[in-house]
Every structure is written in C-alpha cells, then in structure tokens.
C-alpha cells in the first residue's frame, strides 16, 4: 500500500510474464533502447551529406514564422495563400509569433473563411461541394450504424449530434439566405 514502504505485489511473477507475453523483457535494459539517451550528438547518423541543405527555389512568396531567422531551406508548397483567407494568414504570420494566441486564432478564422471562399469557387467551377458524399455519411448503412453506437455505453454519443450541426449549419444558413434572396428578387 501507499501507506507503507513495500511496493504492492504484482499479480504475476517474471517467469509467468515471460511465458505468457511474447518478447517480454526484450528491451529490459533502459540504457539499451533506441531512443536512450534522447539526445545524442552524432551528425553522421542521419545520412545527411551537407552541413546546411541546398536551398529550394522560392518561386512564389512563402509565408514563414517570425520566429525563424529566414525561410527554411526546404518548405511545403501545397495550397498557397489566396483571397481573404490568404490576407488573414499573411497577417497572422507577419504580425504575431507562435507564442501569441492571436496568431493561432487568426489562422483558425482564416481556415473558416477559406472554406467559404473555396465552396463558392468550387460552385463557380462546376464542381460544387456535396456534404453528403464529402462527409462519408452515405457509407453508414454498410457500417452497422445502430449496433456500433447503441447499447455499448459509448461516451462520445453525447456529443456526436453536434457533428451534424457543425457540418450542416453553414449549409442551412447558406440555403436560407439564398431562398430569402430569390424571394426578394421575385417580388
């Protein structure tokens, strides 16, 4: 018990564990584990043949954290900034460090603006978003939706209906606004 010096006895002995669990104790020595010590200076271990990597060409202006001294020599080029969401992202990166909540809150706001902008541009391009296919809910029927959810004491059932609201609310609002606009025009 915690109230005396001795550690509580284990339910099984070492011999029993070794017999029951394949590989039990194969990494018993803490000093002989691949990430021990966590930091070990060995510049040649990675296979890198450079002191500093050759720089990837910056073909378009690339945002970076103000905590970096310069643009990293290699960077991702997926989804460059665009539109109003791009303006917000530029503001977040240029004005605020990673230590500021404003940095992250602006980026989250930009993400939501990006969704709106991208839905409009997809519609204009003839590839509109389809919440039914994109959410994957159409696959529910073959995934035992009732048996998987009910009678199993799952803790997440209390908030799963909110997911429907999170996904559906913007579409309902947009549909309502479109309906109101059409009615107004007809008058």
């Amino acid at each position: 018990m915690a109230y005396i010096a001795d550690k509580p006895a284990l339910p099984e002995t070492t011999e029993q564990l070794r017999a029951r669990i394949p590989g039990w104790g194969a990494d018993l020595d803490p000093a002989d584990r691949p990430s021990v010590p966590r930091e070990k200076l060995d510049p040649g271990a990675s296979g890198a043949r450079w002191d500093f990597p050759e720089r990837q060409p910056e073909l378009a202006p690339r945002e970076r954290s103000v905590e970096h001294a310069f643009l990293t020599p290699v960077f991702g080029t997926s989804c460059p900034r665009k539109g109003l969401s791009g303006v917000l992202r530029t503001l977040a990166y240029q004005r605020y460090s990673e230590g500021r909540a404003a940095h992250w809150l602006i980026l989250i706001a930009a993400d939501r603006v990006d969704v709106l902008e991208s839905s409009v541009s997809a519609l204009r391009a003839g590839h509109p978003d389809n919440p039914l296919t994109e959410t994957g809910v159409l696959g529910e029927l073959k995934r035992h939706p009732l048996r998987s959810r009910f009678g199993r004491g799952r803790a997440d059932l209390a908030h799963q209906p909110l997911d429907v609201l999170i996904v559906g609310a913007p579409w309902l609002v947009a549909g309502g606004l479109a309906y109101a606009a059409v009615r107004r025009l007809r008058r």
């Binding site: 018990m1 550690k7 509580p8 070492t14 669990i21 039990w24 104790g25 018993l28 803490p30 990430s35 021990v36 930091e39 070990k40 200076l41 060995d42 990675s46 296979g47 890198a48 002191d51 990597p53 990837q56 690339r62 970076r64 954290s65 905590e67 990293t72 020599p73 290699v74 960077f75 991702g76 997926s78 989804c79 992202r89 990673e98 909540a101 992250w104 980026l107 993400d111 991208s118 839905s119 978003d129 389809n130 296919t133 994109e134 959410t135 994957g136 159409l138 696959g139 995934r143 035992h144 959810r149 199993r152 799952r154 803790a155 908030h159 799963q160 909110l162 997911d163 999170i166 996904v167």
Partner: protein, 381 residues
Amino acid sequence: MRAMVYRGPYRIRVEEKDIPRIEHPNDAIIKVTLAAICGSDLHLFHGLMPDTRVGHTFGHEFIGVVHEVGGSVQNLKVGDRVMVPFNIYCGSCFFCARGLYSNCHNVNANATAVGGIYGYSHTCGGYDGGQAEYVRVPFADVGPALIPDWMADEDAVLLTDALSTAYFGAQLADIHEGDVVLVLGAGPVGLFAAKSAWLMGAGRVIVVDHLDYRLEKARTFAHAETYNFTEYDDIVVHLKKITDHLGVDRVIEAVGAEADGNLTQHLTGAKLKLQGGSPVALNWAIDGVRKGGTVSVLGAYGPIFSAVKFGDAVNKGLTLRMNQAPVKRQWPRLFSHIQNGYLKPSDIVTHRIPLEHIADGYHMFSAKLDECIKTLVVPNA
C-alpha cells in the same frame, strides 16, 4: 493523379491533382502503394489544427515505390520499395544532429515549435501527404528506407508512425522491470504502446478506454488488463483502488485532443476550439500516476493552451515526457522484434478501402463504426 483533399471540417473528397514534381535536388517522388488513416488525421478532418487549408492532401503514414529522384539523391533509385517516416527532416540541423528528427528546424517555415509532417496542415510545414497516388518526399537520402524483402506491406506502413510512435512513447515512460503501466486509449497507438510496455519489462499493463471492442483487442492483442471508464463513477479512484491506493508507476497517454470522459472539456477543447484540445486524458494521467511517477504523452494536441492540471503534476513530483517520435531511430530494433515474432503490426488492421472511398473511411473511423481500429487506404485498388 487522384488525391484526397480537405474541403472543410468533416468534409473531404477525392480530386484530380497534378503529380508532384521535384522541387529540391534531394527530393524523390514516391508512387504510393499503401497508406493509412491515423487517429491524428481525425483532428485535421474535424478542423482542429490551425492553418489546415482547403485542397490540402492528408496522410503521413504511407509506403510506396520510387517514381522519380532529384539530382543529388544517392541512396534511392527508381523502382525501390520504400517506407517513409512521417517526419520530414534534413538530418543536419542542431536537432537532427542530436537524433531529434521530429524536431527538425530546416523543413517547417510556418512554425518553429514543430518539425515537418506529411499532410498535416501548414502548421506542420504545408507538405501534401500520402493519401494520394503520388507524394513528394524531401530529403530522400535521409528519411525513407528500403522495405526489407521479408516485410509485408501492411506491417511496413504501420512502422511509418503508429508502431514507432507507440514504441517511442514506451521509452519516454522510462519503464523499469515490474512497473505498473497505464495506457490511456486503446486505439492503434495505445495497443502498440501496451505491447511495447511488456517488451520493456512491465509487471502489469492496464488499458483504459470507453469502446468495448477496442478493450477486447487490448486484452487479446496486447495481453492487457482493461477498464471501460464509462462503467466507473470516477476512473481515477478506481485506478487508485486497483493499485493499493498507490497509483500506477508510469502512464502512456495515447488519446490526444479529442478525449472523452468530461463533456465540458470535450466541448470546449474539441468542438468549440477554445483549448488546444480536450485535456481529459492528460489530467487522468496526472491524477492516476503515483507520486514521483512518469507520464509519457503521445496524444496530438493543437498549439494553443489547454486546461492541464500542472499544479498536481508539480505537487506529485511527476516527470512529464513527450515528443513526436523520431521514427527512423526506432526501426532497426522494431524490425528485429517483428522478425522474432514479438510484434505483428498488421494484426490491428480492421479495414482496407480504396482511395476513392476515403470519405467513408474517415467517417467510419471518426464515428467509430463497424468496430474500426485501423483503416488502410489503397490508392490503386
């Protein structure tokens, strides 16, 4: 090429995209043969990670065949069958030189607090991921490795993150012979962490979750003692009772930002995004471990603050250890454990789906339907 793309919270689709091109002399282009959906991909899918852009392709667990290499690549050639760690890293910066490959400073322009990760938002570098037919792999001479001939694809793909992360997490927990180890979460990483705890000599391994089918897997696959937290008024009190009121010696937290068990924390952390994630599992770890014990955090969290009980962690004299796994450091030992029959990663795979049906795969995983534990994605099914 066909690629999964993000369209907004809870929405993805498969679109036609350009095949990635060589952008740096040490790049390779990999033709993906098998990918996986990770539990942390769900955080992106749910819109939790800042700077997740519409059009971004997710996927940091993948293997494939080398399709093209840049001019300076020496270690790979076209046609090689390779596995790619989820970390993108240069191999030469201050951190890489010390083996902290997941903390590379030369690959993520968007943030200094995190290294580069394939398909994991611009906060993790803005690199498209492997839930696609092709993917750009920077530093091809450093990250990828040839898949041994004897290794099955389904085992290899799970070494690119889930198994390596879990094994690393068990090391962070500093397990000594006879320790009582608690694993929070019976998803893929939790299951592998429980297996890894035995390899390190644990005397007792306890797994806690709320999904009975996953706890069943923890018993059969990971030989663990299991508890469903929904069956107890207070799981922390129960943990104390079953450890003679001492608490467990080590905790491995394998849940992350969308933890259940406290509705307020879940709503503020995972739904309203007012925290960097729901800290329920972190707080159970702090409360459930014994004084002087160790908490290893593997769960993924967002970059803003969370309501974590640091006061209790201080007063209990805990050691809190955490990091993204430097995957490639784990591989030689894990290869050996697989060859010896101690580990069979693909035993946790429950579903295999074509890329074209990936929205179904995400929804199934997110809603925990059809007893889903691990879903693999086949680009050219």
